[in-house]
């Protein structure tokens, strides 16, 4: 083998063989369950070396150092530093490689941290990155030849590790994830998403290891080989473990036979995981003897993805345009109040309406766009798996968003201006995103299609020059308003057709702009949309909540034989005819709707009431008394939590209607005052706090919800920034009461005027008093009573 490892070149002509299981070999040599295997690098280096040597003798070209769990979380309190453990592990492996006389390579093995990343866990992406960075830096220093990041189940964690390698070393890196029988990882990652991310971020090989035997992994292996141009590595377990004994079930010979079958799909790197021994590797080496890897022809596609959903732009895909404050008073208000829930609602609504991708724009002069973008992207990804398009002109904002984005995103946008190309394209390349190129430059938007196509060409050339693939370049030929530039409409359509035909790139258009300033906008929008689709538009940016727009795309797909057998169309529309007639609003009062959880009816009644009444009168005379009534029934034990919340939800939608109407008439939305709420640092159980939020919002308070696991400083900062006079804290666990106490202390020290109410399963009134809280709320209803007392 050559000295510098180029996996892609090397695997053109020959297979590479990794080693087999380390953990199981060590247990066979007496390691106790629960002991830290990496400490054997110090207590039993000879044992480790003997395992390596056995693999090398059996035919391994690459051995993995005993560093799988050598991270600061797993090694905590063991008495050895990450650097020491990695240095020792790599050195033992290198000594073994040298002794074996083979020209073998040493891979530094990197496994999962041992804690789950957000949103399921509490470890942040940034913290995970730092943990991996420490390992990578130590590995480079120790002289590792390459890295293998393996047994990953979360794409986000894999991204943190891969980024840490790419930013802190020049060594080759292999990534491998672990799949269950449903062909997804524990966190739901499909193998295509692994392939897309690894290719985007520049991994040298991608693969699958652990959890199942080679036979069970076969279908996942086939899928992976069809989804990537990178060399593919497979390291299965020795079959499935026997449920009684925990022992693995297949023989080395069977293992090798299955391995051989994987050659046909294009696998070029083989090894073994749990339960495999040097005997297995020897059998594999014998089977591969004299054979060559099969070249794959993988169709290049335009992909974007989140960690659990892949969107292939091989047909028109809808980009939802609603997450954007431009011209939206309520959205701006939400951004100023850090009201992430408002934005999340917009996200979910669009996804339910049929958006395939969501555009995310949070640019507003008064706020920190970068911090907000990061927060919004993370939050949206915690409630939907729809891929995102990062919409900003600020390179710093784009980079911050791409860095923490889980998957492969689209950047919206670059344009033909030198500054834009120079600053944004390298970021797109680094994070492996797709990019929208706007056909405008310093001279504005050209009138003629040919001129726009020329700008497109310039953007494509520049993007390709720095290594962005053609399939990741999407061109936006720009929609001009028909009312102002009527003759430009057909130029846009022509340009779409031309860039598509001449350069084979995907096309994007913001559609709604066409009708600006004209009546019956919906009509123009959806006709223009169908014209654009016919001219080759792939990614319409639209409001998917408008049925005519989403419907146009669905109909187009049916008529173009993309929606085969009209399956999607029928699934969407077959129920429409049989839908129940909406309950007539005139028979229903607002109070009845709230009592009975009738959201739609309540919204209709509110709309009618708004025609004849002042908004605040509806709130004070109708909504709040109705809520008070349910609150009292709840206190009396006549209704229970679900009904209380159901009524609150109905009232909430009435408030939304009122706010919308107020913002349209230019009035400020109703607010009785601001309350900061948070689940304290260390605690992740926040459903109770969220119930409190809904009820408080119902009574007209503006809630600054800081979420869960919130440090004391953040609570104080938010209360100060928003001028809140009341802070609500929740904690579920005894273990986190201490941080509740710390938070109260800090609030009292910094903002002596601010009142604090607390709640949570383990709290009592006495304890609340003891830790310095002003109020104890035993449930959400009491929190409302306290807010009334403090704020009015």
């Amino acid at each position: 083998m050559e000295n510098k490892l180029n996996l892609k070149e090397l695997t053109r002509d020959r297979f590479i063989i990794f080693d087999g299981g380390m953990g199981t070999e060590l247990q066979a040599r007496g390691l106790k369950t629960g002991e830290t295997p990496e400490l054997l690098n110090f207590t039993a280096p000879d044992v480790i070396k003997s395992v390596h040597l056995d693999y090398l003798k059996s035919g391994s070209d690459v051995i993995s150092a005993n560093t799988f769990g050598a991270n600061r979380y797993k090694l905590e309190g063991c008495g050895k530093s990450v650097e020491e453990v990695i240095l020792a592990g790599v050195q033992i492996a290198k000594t073994a490689a040298a002794e074996s006389g083979r020209n073998a390579f040493v891979a530094q093995d990197i496994g999962p941290v041992g804690q789950l990343l957000e949103p399921t866990g509490t470890l942040t992406f940034e913290e995970a990155y730092d943990i991996f960075k420490e390992q990578v830096v130590a590995g480079v220093k120790a002289g590792s030849d390459l890295f293998i990041i393996e047994t990953m189940t979360d794409l986000y964690e894999l991204k943190a590790a891969l980024l840490a390698v790419k930013e802190n070393s020049d060594l080759p890196v292999i990534c491998s994830m672990t799949y269950e029988e449903n062909q997804r990882t524990f966190t739901g990652v499909p193998v295509e998403a692994e392939a897309i991310l690894c290719e985007a971020l520049g991994a040298d090989a991608v693969g699958i290891n652990c959890s199942l035997g080679p036979k069970e992994l076969m279908p996942v292996v086939e899928k992976l080989c069809n989804a990537t141009t990178l060399p593919v590595i497979v390291m299965p377990n020795a079959g499935l473990p026997d449920p009684e004994t925990g022992r693995f079930t297949i023989t080395a010979e069977e293992f090798a036979i299955y391995t051989e079958q994987m050659i046909q799909y294009g696998v070029s790197i083989f090894g073994g995981c749990c339960g495999t021994t040097p005997g297995f590797i020897r059998a594999v080496a014998e089977k591969l003897e004299g054979k060559k890897p099969v070249a794959r022809s993988v169709k290049k596609q335009s992909y974007v993805c989140s960690s659990t959903r892949v969107c292939c732009v091989d047909q028109p895909r809808i980009i939802g345009e609603r997450i954007n404050p431009t011209g939206k008073k309520l959205f701006k208000e939400a951004l100023k109040n850090d009201d992430i829930n408002y934005i999340l609602n917009q996200a979910i609504e669009q996804v339910n309406a049929g958006a395939d991708i969501l555009d995310v724009n949070v640019g507003l002069p008064e706020i920190d766009e970068k911090a907000m973008m990061v927060k919004v992207v993370k939050s949206i990804q915690s409630v939907t798996d729809t891929p995102l398009q990062i919409d900003s002109t600020n390179p710093e904002v784009i980079e911050a968003a791409l860095r923490i984005y889980n998957g492969k995103a689209i950047v919206n946008s670059v344009n033909g201006e030198e500054e834009s190309l120079e600053k944004i394209l390298p970021i797109v390349k680094k994070y492996g995103a797709a990019v929208v190129g706007l056909t405008l430059d310093n001279n504005g938007i050209p009138k003629k299609a040919e001129e726009r196509v020329a700008i497109a060409k310039r953007i494509i050339d520049r993007a390709e020059a720095i290594g962005i693939a053609r399939e990741d370049i999407y061109i936006d030929c720009l929609t001009l308003t028909a009312s102002a530039e009527q003759e430009a409409v057909k130029e846009t359509l022509k340009a779409v057709r031309m860039v598509k035909e001449q350069y084979g790139v995907k096309t994007v258009l913001g559609v709604s702009n066409i009708s600006f300033g004209l009546p019956n906008r919906e009509l123009l929008n959806h006709i223009f949309l169908s014209l654009a689709l016919e001219n080759g538009l792939d990614l319409p940016i639209i409001n998917p909540n408008i049925e005519a727009m989403t419907g146009t795309v669905r109909a187009f797909k049916l008529l173009h034989n993309i929606d085969v057998n009209s399956a999607q169309y029928i699934a969407t529309y077959s129920d429409t005819a049989t839908q129940k007639p909406v309950q007539k609003a005139e028979n229903i009062t607002l109070e009845y709707a709230i009592d009975n959880g009738l959201k739609e009816a309540a919204v209709n009644v509110t709309r009618q009431l708004l025609c004849e009444n002042e908004a605040m009168d509806i709130v004070n005379d109708r909504l709040i008394p109705a809520l008070d009534k349910t609150g009292t029934l709840f206190e009396q034990g006549k209704i229970f939590l679900p009904q209380l919340i159901l009524s609150a939800g109905v009232a909430q939608s009435c408030f939304d209607v009122i706010k919308e109407s107020l913002s349209k008439s230019g009035d400020t939305p109703v607010s009785k005052g601001k309350i900061v709420i948070a689940t304290v640092k260390g605690d992740i159980h926040d459903i109770g706090k969220n119930i409190v939020r809904v009820l408080l919002e119902n009574y007209g308070y503006t809630i600054i919800d800081l979420g869960k696991d919130v440090p004391p400083e953040a609570v104080v900062d938010a209360a100060e920034k928003h001028g809140a006079t009341l802070v609500g804290l929740s904690a579920l666990m005894t273990t986190t009461l201490k941080s509740m106490e710390d938070t109260i202390k800090l609030v009292k020290a910094k903002l002596p005027e601010c009142k604090v109410m607390v709640g949570g399963a383990v709290l009592t009134a006495d304890y609340a008093e003891k830790i310095g809280a002003d109020y104890y709320a035993k449930d959400a209803k009491e929190a409302v009573d306290i807010a009334k007392k403090v704020i009015g």
């Binding site: 804690q115 789950l116 509490t122 273990t735 383990v762």
Partner: protein
């Protein structure tokens, strides 16, 4: 493992609903049950260890580095030759579902949360059944979890690592020893050769003894 319906009576109890629920709640329970069954991927894991030593400073297990300290676990395992370490989870999908519902429909979120709590107990019961099959001659003690009584919650991390819970079922603990995914359980069960009578754990050892709603009504949370 096939659990195709969730114990709604138990979920209602978690929701604080006494008596027959109203029709709206019933309907929501059905809808949420379906969604939860679709989103959750229940998994469990257990290992049976010989108890090598049951001294005052803690229980030692054969060929295992974990020590179980405290008086309470000693009492639980009194007379047991073996102990089972088990863990179970509904997976990240259940968390994600509840998270999403909290944005779109809080009432559904609250009901699904209660259903999930009932569901994870059912998974544990199922796991107990499997444990019984693996150890026919024994009878089982109650499930006892890190954080109960004087058994430190700080054990969580090592407990999970003994079971290789992250690798095998995707279960971890946070720095504060909370389990993630949230709807998860870790527990110790003693295997005894004698028949044991089920005992209610005393409320004295419970963190919630002062605020417990069941206690106010003179009922126990344990079955």
């Amino acid at each position: 493992m096939m659990i195709d319906s969730i114990d709604k009576k138990e979920a209602l109890r978690y929701l604080g609903i006494k008596g027959e629920p109203d029709n709206g709640t019933k309907e929501l329970l059905d809808i949420c049950e379906k969604e939860l069954l679709k989103s959750a991927s229940p998994k469990f894991l257990f290992r049976i260890f010989e108890i090598s030593d049951n001294r005052t400073e803690g229980i030692r297990l054969e060929n295992c580095s974990l020590i179980l300290p405290g008086k309470d676990i000693g009492e639980l395992l009194q007379g047991c030759k073996k102990a089972v370490l088990m863990c179970a989870t509904l997976g990240g999908g259940a968390d994600a579902l509840i998270r999403k519902m909290q944005i779109t429909d809080m009432a559904k979120a609250v009901i699904t949360d209660a259903l999930a709590s009932a569901f994870i107990e059912q998974v544990c019961d199922y796991a107990e059944g499997e444990i019984k099959k693996s150890a026919i001659v024994f009878s089982l003690t109650d499930r006892f979890s890190p954080g109960y009584g004087d058994l430190p919650i700080g054990l969580q991390k090592d407990f999970l690592s003994v079971l290789e819970a992250q690798k095998k079922i995707g279960l971890c603990a946070t720095d504060n020893m909370l389990l993630t995914p949230k709807k998860s359980v870790t527990a110790i069960i003693g295997l005894s050769e004698e028949k044991r009578t089920a005992t209610h754990r005393s409320c004295d050892e419970c963190d919630l003894k002062n605020s417990c709603l069941y206690r106010k009504d003179n009922v126990y949370c344990g079955k």
